[in-house]
């Protein structure tokens, strides 16, 4: 099964919907250990993407993702704006001019996205950030891909690993970002950035499930 530009549009619509549905929840998570604006900011960014989605329908996947990147960078603000913006920008690099990609190409793009996030945020796994959802998710993706899973199975494993990753942030002590000021008091709270990353993987899975 190939993923085409229409699937990417559908994925973005689903992701925007999930962020909107969880706006209050993300903001609530962020109030506990950050500055209480993650849901509001992410929703502003994805709403901006949605406002121009019709102009993207006939574009190649690289262009779609690059346009999303610019929308996120220029509207989200905070740390999430540069981090998600850089992720989409790095993901777009290997997909320029492509209207269809396979699961290998998707993995490469996701790996590039993670690399972008690490470059911009200078964080590694275990610091209670979105990386704690994304890194294990991509390992699960790669494993399932190598063992010959179907695209839906691959993304199911990815989402499950991301979910586990989010849960693992609860007992972690934050050492990056605004939650780090809390020190031990950050322990016991779920990381909002890891949670929004999980929602985005879920949107990918749902898109592929509908396609089958």
């Amino acid at each position: 099964m190939m993923i085409n530009n229409q699937d990417v549009i559908k994925f973005l619509e689903k992701a925007a919907g999930k962020i909107k549905e969880n706006k209050e929840f993300l903001t609530q998570l962020d109030s506990a250990i950050g500055d209480g604006d993650h849901g509001i900011n992410m929703d502003r960014g994805f709403s901006k993407i949605m406002s121009s989605i019709d102009t993207l329908r006939d574009k190649d996947i690289g262009t779609i993702l690059r346009t999303c990147s610019m929308a996120l960078i220029s509207t989200v603000g905070g740390a999430s704006g540069p981090l998600y913006g850089t992720a989409f920008l790095y993901a777009s690099k290997s997909l320029n001019g492509k209207f269809e990609i396979d699961m290998n190409e998707l993995l490469e793009a996701l790996k590039a996205a993670l690399e972008g996030i690490q470059m911009r945020g200078k964080a590694t796994e275990g610091e209670k950030t979105m990386i704690d959802a994304i890194a294990p998710a991509l390992r699960a993706f790669e494993e399932k891909l190598k063992s010959g899973g179907t695209p839906v199975e691959i993304l199911e494993a990815t989402v499950a690993a991301a979910k586990k990753g989010v849960e693992n942030t609860v007992p972690m002590k934050a050492t990056k970002g605004r939650a780090s000021y809390l020190g031990d008091r950050s322990i016991g709270h779920q990381d909002p950035g890891a949670t929004s990353s999980y929602l985005i993987f879920e949107a990918m899975l749902e898109t592929l499930k509908e396609k089958v």
Partner: protein, 333 residues
């Protein structure tokens, strides 16, 4: 939530619009993307200084745009850092050919967004120096966190560097000066009440009627300790001691003492704090050579106070005294 606003999503835009209308002889406003800039920009052959950050800390930063201070300020949403396109477009507007100094408070969002803007400008051949302010002594274990937050010293750095840019300091020298101010400035704040971000509608944290938070950050981030409320003298002592021992400030030092309201604390209380601070410093042989008392770096309507001490030498004193003309700081002109 009780606030004098129209719609939560219009708060920043409408406030900046009002600032532009009130001070049209000093500043102009650009809306897409949003930044406030000197009405006479660009000033040729002067290093342009740009700062910015989340809104909700007024008058910082837009209130400090004008002669002898900032060339432009980029306001983000409330407590959310501005985006790179704002700094990029602001820099293009105010660049006078001598480079750009970004003064950035040490919050991960601000640091990343300013870095992205600097990358974009450097790609076009514009010289940019990024100086980070991280003066909040409340943050312990700063090696294992994002590091200390940028607070009160930011205001002083913007004034002092602004004066130096007017005097003709080049970009490299100006960045060195900014780092010196950051190195010599120390702050700590406290809060009696939380504040409410308009778009969130609820207080950012909770504090019981008889409690206070010592070492609070300017977005309501927790500080060192939550405790029962104490007298003004005891509060001042706690803040001052933490600051003095950190640098440390020593007998014979000359300092600028800055007593700041977090937004909701009135001037009558600020001067009670200043009075005690004066006595503490006097008893240690530290001389207040310059002072600033008022509401300059705030957290919306939060009640609380912060103290900043900046060690001074002749260069810093001269630059502090130099003329400045901005909506929020004006003298000598």
């Amino acid at each position: 939530m009780k606030k004098i606003i129209n719609k939560p999503e219009d708060v920043v835009k409408e406030s900046v619009e009002g600032l532009g209308l009130a001070w049209s002889e000093i500043v102009k406003v650009n809306y897409e993307p949003m930044f406030v800039y000197r009405a006479d920009a660009p000033v040729n052959n002067k290093v342009a200084i740009i700062s910015g950050g989340g809104s909700g800390h007024e008058p910082m930063h837009a209130g400090f745009v004008g002669y002898g201070m900032l060339d432009a300020a980029c306001p983000g949403e409330v407590f959310t850092s501005p985006t790179p396109d704002q700094m990029y477009e602001a820099a293009k507007k105010v660049h006078g050919g001598a480079g750009i100094l970004f003064i950035v408070k040490n919050y991960s969002g601000d640091v990343m967004n300013f870095e992205m803007a600097a990358d974009m400008l450097k790609a076009e051949g514009i010289d940019v120096e990024n100086v980070i302010i991280d003066d909040d002594v409340a943050v312990k274990d700063s090696l294992y966190t994002q590091g200390r937050r940028g607070v009160g010293t930011t205001v002083l750095a913007e004034k002092i560097c602004g004066a130096a840019a007017e005097k003709g300091y080049d970009l490299k020298k100006l960045a060195e000066l900014c780092k010196k101010v950051n190195g010599w400035g120390r702050s700590m704040g406290m809060a009696l009440t939380p504040c409410t971000v308009p778009a969130a509608g609820k207080p950012t944290f909770e504090l019981a009627e008889d409690e206070m938070e010592i070492g609070i950050g300017i977005h309501g981030e927790p500080g060192r300790e939550r405790m029962k409320i104490k007298s003004a003298d005891e509060i001042t002592e706690m803040l001052a001691e933490a600051i003095i021992e950190d640098l440390p400030f020593k007998e014979g030092d000359e300092v600028l003492a800055f007593v700041n309201s977090m937004g909701g604390t009135p001037e009558i209380e600020l001067y009670i704090v200043y009075r005690k601070l004066y006595k503490i410093l006097e008893s240690k042989g530290i001389k207040i050579a310059r002072k600033l008392v008022g509401r300059y770096i705030t957290s919306l309507e939060m009640q609380g106070v912060s103290i900043t001490l900046l060690k001074l030498d002749d260069e810093l004193k001269e630059l502090w005294d130099a003329p400045v003309k901005t909506p929020a700081l004006r003298w000598g002109i």
